[in-house]
């Protein structure tokens, strides 16, 4: 099985690494604009060959589209225009509605499978690819009724090899839920970083005093804008709603503090503690 990875970053690179290590593929093509990154992909043994898009499309059994989501919008229709009849293309983007909409009526829509494997780190580039990133995590398939049975089978085999649990969802439901359980976390982490950097003019103090709690909540603020601005743009309606709801909750916290209603604050926190029961079931 030959795999073509378009966009050799953390996700594309980690997929290639595991598929190769687990014998799912014997040849990986890498496609990208950054020659240095592709060279690194070769020297790290993530891809076998760096090629142009057309070569990857013509020679892969499965094409994995792993660019930022704005680039996906541009590339996917072209890929579907050129795709050989036995090939499947799947994306791994963090937003699903806009991409699904743009190819909804494409004559080769059935050769596309819309997928979001929920895994990642705050790092980027081929060098950030790691093994076992996807093990035991959730993978969302969207609009499977529009994909061919053969294409779906290939895609399911791939993500089963990555040891992911596959669930189905509509693109709209995906984007709504992800706004709350993923995209909002990035917004609040960026805002935390921006706040602390602005206030703590003497940045050595941050260095000295930041504990593991701060490192945990600020971790996502390391994530690159090239990846995240397009996600925020494509899912802006849901994210604006989520951020508004979040600001309301912060205002409530602040009000309880200002009014010295510490018994109510206790209950606010007890309620928030519920997240433990939910997260620890995972």
């Amino acid at each position: 099985m030959k795999i073509g990875v378009i966009g050799l970053g953390l996700i594309g690179g980690s997929i290639a690494k595991d598929l190769r290590a687990r014998g799912f593929t014997d040849f990986v093509y890498g496609v990208g604009r950054n020659q240095e990154n592709l060279d690194q992909g070769i020297s790290l043994g993530i891809i076998d060959e760096a090629v142009d898009m057309d070569t990857a499309i013509a020679n892969s059994d499965i094409i994995v589209l792993a660019t930022p989501v704005n680039t996906m919008i541009k590339l996917l229709p072209t890929i579907l225009d050129k795709i050989p009849s036995n090939t499947v293309v799947l994306d791994v983007g963090s937003t699903k509605a806009e991409l699904c909409k743009i190819v909804h009526d494409h004559k080769n829509r059935k050769q596309f499978v819309a997928i979001h494997p929920i895994a990642g780190t705050e790092n980027k580039g081929a060098a950030s690819a790691i093994n076992n990133l996807f093990d035991n995590k959730m993978c969302i398939f969207c609009e499977t009724e529009l994909s061919s049975i053969e294409g779906l089978q290939k895609a399911k085999a791939l993500f089963t090899c990555l040891k992911m649990e596959i669930i189905e969802m509509t693109p709209a439901d995906h984007d709504l839920h992800l706004a709350y359980v993923s995209h909002l976390s990035h917004v609040i982490s960026y805002a935390l970083s921006a706040t602390v950097l602005e206030i703590e003019k003497d940045r050595s103090k941050i260095l000295e005093l930041a504990g593991s709690g701060f490192a945990s909540t600020a971790r996502l603020a390391k994530s690159a804008p090239e990846m995240w601005v397009p996600i925020f743009e494509q899912n802006s309606k849901n994210i604006i709603t989520a951020v508004s709801a979040y600001i309301d909750k912060l205002q409530e916290f602040k009000r309880l503090m200002v009014e010295k209603k510490f018994d109510e604050l206790h209950n606010y926190i007890l309620n928030a503690n519920e997240i433990r029961r939910i997260l620890e079931k995972k």
Copy 2:
């Protein structure tokens, strides 16, 4: 050296564990209101004996006050009233101004050292105590000029044994900086949890979709109100300022989203990314 730990939670328990494992102490008294927790401390080998407060004060060389910060305010003056002349008491609270103020003029003030070892997890109770929690982390000493040389020496020996780096700071500076680099992180994590729990009525969806990013930003929301409400109360002025500044940053993010100013959003994120350089120096 005999150590009396008053409040046998994550911090008190972890201190006892390491001090014992590293030969700093040969006997640890545990004091607390929860008999089951104390029994657990004994069976886990964290303390040697559960005693009442007076016994611990009379027989310890160092008393470690590790209760929630509101309880410290009540206990510390009494402890200083009864403390033998060769004994030192130190606290490990996350707020420093109010506690320092309340004992400022106590006749035995010099036998107290005000300390904040910056380490922790979201768990509580003797069973949550872990080894090596403090290794290579920062430990803040406040108002050392009011402590006796002997008391300071004992306290420094203890936190050096815990492999911490000791720095000094005024109580006011401590509380201001910690509001931003620690307390604010807890507020935003609680608010994130409260928001998501409210919106995601179907909580199984959270379970299914929450990735490592959400788990990271929501981790602190598991922290107990018994510990955190008193911290919020004692440091309310600084925390209200920090939360207000944070809400402003979120409003700015939201405005850029609503006005579709994605170039400015890119810059907002680039700025937030600076936290990587600072955190990774640690």
